[in-house]
């Protein structure tokens, strides 16, 4: 592996092996001084104290995408534990849920990426890297679509729940640039899942979507959210949840093909019913959530 691993080990703890081969290209473009590029070709550095220059050069090398914060395995473990606790303690800390997803999701993200690679539409998404943002969405156009179409229902969902696609947290702690896109795509598709499952953004609706996503993606954050989310629900809601909603969400999750393999931006005109059928989501139970 790259000799510079040795330099980084004192601080970064050997996680560098997961960085992609494109790192060599990044080194060439690095803003560091020529001395720092040369250093990588020298013998392993056994001095464990990293000076300031080396630290900042490493930071620049290993920032794989804008907003990326490289972290050691110890830091990831601490972040996972801390964010899990904080997310339960203060459910309004959505950023903690995001951090938990990033730090615990590496193997689930890899299998999601592989599923995307093996599907033609998923592969196209990985190539084109579409982003769902208010600036790219034609909201008035979508509002003009007939009722029952996916685009119209999505915009209705955004309005009635007073949410916006722009409030998704940017990815920080995923140490692979493509996986960072996969988790970003998962976050942006989450609202579309709400629309397709017909679930609002209250606690009950979120838990139902989490159950669906847990089955679909296998992300530990979804599983934890699905299991611990109901803790804050009252008895009546819990009963509806366990008797009707969870079985339906789990069945749909198992029956449906991978939800990340659909280019939703090309399907606004499709009706919600036909899209549900195509994906494999079962018809929602007739309950007011």
């Amino acid at each position: 592996m790259l000799p510079i691993c040795w330099l980084g080990r004192a601080r970064m703890g050997g996680w560098l092996r997961r960085a992609p081969g494109s790192l060599r290209g990044l080194r060439a473009l690095a803003l560091g001084s020529p001395a720092s590029i040369g250093r990588g070709d020298q013998l392993p550095h056994t001095d464990l104290t990293v000076t300031a220059e080396e630290h900042v050069d490493e930071e620049r090398y290993y920032q794989l995408y804008p907003g990326h914060i490289p972290t050691s395995p110890l830091q990831k473990a601490l972040l996972s534990a801390g964010s899990a606790f904080m997310a339960l303690y203060n459910p309004y800390r959505h950023d903690m849920v995001a951090v938990l997803g990033e730090t615990t999701g590496s193997s689930a993200l890899r299998s999601l990426r592989d599923k995307m690679r093996h599907d033609p539409e998923g592969y196209q998404i990985l190539q084109e890297r579409p982003r769902i943002r208010l600036s790219t969405l034609d909201v008035t156009g979508l509002q003009g679509l007939p009722d029952g179409t996916f685009g119209r229902e999505y915009v209705r969902f955004l309005d009635s729940n007073r949410v916006s696609p722009d409030t998704r947290m940017p990815v920080k702690f995923v140490d692979d640039e493509e996986l960072a896109y996969v988790i970003q795509r998962y976050r942006e598709v989450h609202d579309l899942m709400h629309t397709l499952l017909g679930m609002p953004t209250n606690m009950l609706g979120e838990v139902v979507v989490k159950w669906f996503e847990a089955v679909q993606t296998g992300l530990p954050m979804c599983i934890l959210g699905a299991v611990f989310g109901p803790v804050r629900l009252n008895a009546r809601k819990l009963q509806i949840l366990t008797t009707e909603l969870i079985p339906w969400a789990v069945q749909s999750g198992r029956n449906a093909s991978c939800v990340l393999n659909f280019y939703y931006e090309n399907r606004w005109e499709q009706t919600v019913e036909s899209l549900r059928e195509e994906i494999g989501i079962l018809h929602p139970p007739a309950i007011c959530v």
Binding site: R11, A52, E53, H55, V56, E59, I69, S72, L74, Q75, L78, L79, G82, S83, F85, M86, R93, D95, M96, V99, K172
Partner: protein, 290 residues
């Protein structure tokens, strides 16, 4: 850990005060300056221009202001309170002291100063009563006052900080804890203090001087606003000499503190800057140019 208090008696010797101060300032600064170009300075481990540093530091403290106190408690496990207590004990202010607390932000030093001065006053009264001395009319009337109209002896503390958010949090804290008399809040830059010469008995700067762009200018200003015989107290993080503790300290600083920042305050980068800026600050022992 490794906080060191430098209590330097400035102006003790009128004739040599100017030369002495400049050499200390240059010595302090040369350690930080040795590796950057002119007009450039450090922001943590990055090299930035001097104007950029000021802006970046401002943004760091603007974003951490609300969680500043809770983060201090978490990162130091409450030990920072002991350090600040020790600073005020070293200061040993008597009733009547005029204190300037620079980079005083959320008011920790100022509140301790007020508590100390008040308890000194009460202690004095008790001593006098014990030794059957007569109290003066002023002392008697003060002890009957239910509301403190002034601090004992006319003591005053001015909290000066460049960052409005930090001062805002400090003012809210003061209101909440009931500190109002003898306390004022001023927005100002340590490199260019908005005060007249020879105004204060004591100048303190606790965990602030490493964030100043031109430390030598801050020292010059401290010298200017202090009365002759006044004292300069600086509380700051420093180098750890013991190699084992140093390794543990580095591990804690770089692995745990940014994580705490992310979890508690939702801000990794500010706390990364914090631990890096500690490493950039010169060590305790400075070689003064002769």
């Amino acid at each position: 850990m490794a906080a060191s208090i430098g209590a330097v008696a400035c102006r003790a010797l009128h004739s040599r005060r100017h030369g002495k101060l400049l050499s200390i300032g240059r010595g302090l600064f040369s350690g930080a300056r040795c590796l950057v170009a002119e007009g450039e300075t450090h922001f943590g481990f990055q090299n930035v221009s001097e104007t950029e540093k000021g802006e970046k530091v401002y943004h760091v403290f603007e974003s951490v202001a609300k969680k500043y106190d809770i983060m201090n408690d978490s990162m130091s496990l409450g030990i920072h309170r002991l350090w600040k207590d020790i600073l005020v004990h070293q200061m040993n202010p008597y009733p009547g002291t005029q204190l300037l607390d620079v980079a005083g932000g959320t008011g920790d030093i100022a509140f301790r100063f007020i508590n100390y001065v008040r308890s000194q006053w009460e202690h004095q009264i008790k001593q006098k009563l014990k030794s059957h001395q007569n109290l003066s009319w002023q002392e008697i009337s003060k002890s009957y006052q239910e509301e403190e109209l002034k601090l004992p002896g006319g003591s005053q503390v001015v909290v000066c900080d460049i960052n409005k958010e930090m001062l805002k949090v400090g003012k809210q804290k003061a209101q909440h804890l009931g500190y109002s008399e003898g306390l004022s809040w001023v927005v100002g830059n340590a490199e260019e203090l908005p005060f007249n010469d020879n105004k204060f008995d004591v100048y303190t700067i606790a965990f602030g001087i490493r964030n100043v762009t031109h430390i030598d200018q801050a020292l010059q200003e401290a010298y200017r606003v202090l009365k002759p015989g006044g004292r300069f107290l600086c509380l700051e993080f420093s180098q750890v000499n013991n190699p084992l503790i140093s390794r543990l300290y580095d591990l804690y600083s770089f692995q745990v503190i940014p994580v705490l920042g992310e979890i508690i305050a939702g801000d990794w980068k500010s706390y990364q800057y914090l631990v890096e800026s500690i490493r950039r600050f010169p060590a305790q022992v400075i070689r003064c140019s002769a």
